[in-house]
């Protein structure tokens, strides 16, 4: 577990970046992970070129789901929806500093990125 709870993860968990709700956001999506009760409410704004300009999240969950959401709000800035759609587990693991997740924690780490993909799809951006 040493890895899972390394300093960087705990910092994002205890002091999440971009925590809250973006007013009048184009993307506004709820997603949860029923098997463990993690929930996320993610809002995002795109710029005039259609790139991600700002992302905020609110939610409850474990260190992995919350820290990864916090990191994601920074990592996707400037990306196109297609680039977001292409993000896979290993990208998220890299984003978290090269963590290797066990099968039981994969869903936690993917919650926020899946929420963002879902929200972009709902708005016809994907």
């Amino acid at each position: 577990m040493g890895d899972l709870y390394r300093e960087q993860m705990l910092e994002h968990y205890h002091e999440p970046q971009n925590y809250g709700v973006l007013a009048d956001a184009e993307v506004d999506v709820h997603l949860d992970n029923p098997t463990c009760g993690d929930t996320i409410h993610l809002t995002a704004q795109l710029d005039t070129e259609g790139r991600i300009a700002k992302v905020m999240f609110e939610g409850h969950g474990c260190v992995i789901s919350m820290a990864s959401a916090s990191m994601l709000t920074e990592a996707v800035l400037g990306k196109t929806p297609q680039e977001v759609a292409a993000l896979e587990l290993h990208d998220i693991e890299d984003m978290m500093g090269g963590l290797r997740l066990s099968m039981g924690r994969v869903k936690c780490a993917l919650l926020s990125v899946n929420a963002l993909k879902k929200g972009l799809k709902e708005r016809g951006r994907l």
């Binding site: 577990m1 029923p34 789901s65």
Partner: protein
């Protein structure tokens, strides 16, 4: 009492291997128990000395396999107080046993407008089969509620039985989340008086308490070998008259008497419900696990766990912000679920793992029960014959680390 959990633990080979460099503190036996060497030996001895397909062979090896397979059935039947081994059917696990009842008995006996009563503390395996049956038959699925203390609200049962529409009452003999042991004989008596069949989920109780189907009075009892130290197999006990009146569940080899092109007749009990080649060595391993527990004494197993639970219920509240689910005194099973303010159960489990402490986190296959308590998930420590007071201490110490790391 002569109980010595440290000696008992030595009979389980897994405890001789450290986990993450630490002594293994296994507190997830409610999910699945570790296996004593005697069970491994029994399985290996079938494969090295007496393996062949059962029943159908007319040679010594097949006869030896059949004898061991049937001797195990007899042991397992007696272990739950059944006098007639033919009432005991081998299945994969408790889940399959409950599905067998819901499919075979249920589809024949449940009709539109009938009511099926279960409880709010059921494991999904004693819930979703009934939900599916209710949906197929347009029957009603009703829940006996659980109160804040984690006990069944018995007063809610008579109104559910009063109109004569309830055909089956299904409940667990021990909650895998709350540890609650419901007043089973009372429930059975009430249900029977209303003409309902009683299905008991013994998946948690059978490994941990003396269970006697005659004293219990129920019509079906489902349980799994893997939770009592056996391999991947399970059993359904049912009353002969009811089993005989039921249609088969799975069709195929061994469950038939005779097959013509468009008709077939069924074999006698228990084979009518055992289609295809059974899990032969696994059945023998199941019997060996039952022998192991019988030698310990099920009353002693229960006493041992009661002592561990009492100690855990005393020590866990020392952890700041820890809340226990379910009864905090009286008779209860060896599963203690709890939650920590501000910390997700997944993180509790992961941090404890680094200390060699294995607990379970999540919904424990009891989502409606968690909804009842307004919890998205919980953590659970559960005990078995090999656990000691030291294991509880390791849990409490580990929870200290969890808080140090994750709470601000």
């Amino acid at each position: 009492m002569g109980w010595n959990a440290v000696d008992i633990r030595r009979e389980f080979p897994i405890f001789s291997h450290p986990v993450n460099g630490k002594r293994l503190v296994f507190l997830d036996s409610a999910a699945s128990a570790q296996k004593p060497q005697a069970v491994l030996d029994a399985i290996a001895s079938v494969y090295t000395t007496s393996y062949a397909n059962v029943h159908r062979g007319l040679y010594s090896l097949a006869e030896a396999a059949t004898e061991r397979y049937e001797a195990a059935r007899e042991k397992i039947a007696h272990f739950v107080g059944a006098t007639d081994p033919e009432e005991l059917i081998y299945v994969r696990n408790a889940t399959e046993a409950l599905n067998l009842v819901a499919y075979s008995w249920g589809r024949q006996n449940i009709h539109a407008g009938d009511r099926i009563v279960i409880t709010e503390m059921e494991h999904h395996s004693n819930l979703v089969p009934w939900m599916a049956l209710a949906r197929e038959k347009e029957a009603e699925l009703a829940y006996l509620p659980v109160n804040d203390a984690g006990e069944l609200d018995l007063a809610a049962l008579p109104p559910l039985l009063a109109d004569g529409r309830t055909r089956v009452v299904a409940f667990t003999l021990m909650s895998n989340v709350l540890g609650t042991i419901p007043p089973a004989q009372e429930l059975v008596a009430m249900a029977h008086q209303a003409g309902a069949v009683v299905v008991v989920d013994g998946a948690q109780a059978v490994p941990h308490l003396p269970v006697n189907v005659e004293a219990l009075g129920a019509d079906f009892l489902a349980f799994s070998a893997h939770k009592l130290g056996g391999p991947g197999i399970g059993a359904l006990w049912g009353r002969r008259a009811i089993l005989e009146a039921m249609p088969p569940f799975l069709y195929g080899g061994d469950m038939i008497l005779s097959v013509k092109k468009h008709t077939a007749t069924w074999n006698d009990l228990p084979y009518k419900f055992e289609a295809g080649t059974p899990a032969i060595a696994e059945a023998v391993g199941f019997g060996a696990a039952v022998d192991f527990l019988t030698a310990l004494g099920m009353e002693e197993v229960h006493q041992h766990e009661q002592a561990l639970v009492a100690y855990a219920l005393e020590r866990l509240p020392e952890v700041p912000g820890l809340h226990i689910l379910g009864p905090t005194h009286g008779q209860r099973g060896g599963a203690v679920s709890f939650w920590l303010e501000g910390i997700h159960p997944h993180d509790i489990a992961s941090v404890l793992d680094a200390e060699g402490v294995c607990i379970r986190a999540g919904l424990h296959c009891a989502e409606p029960l968690h909804a009842r308590f307004g919890l998205p998930a919980s953590a659970r420590a559960s005990f078995y014959v090999y656990n000691t007071i030291d294991d509880v201490d390791a849990l409490v110490a580990g929870l200290g680390r969890v808080i140090a790391l994750l709470r601000r």
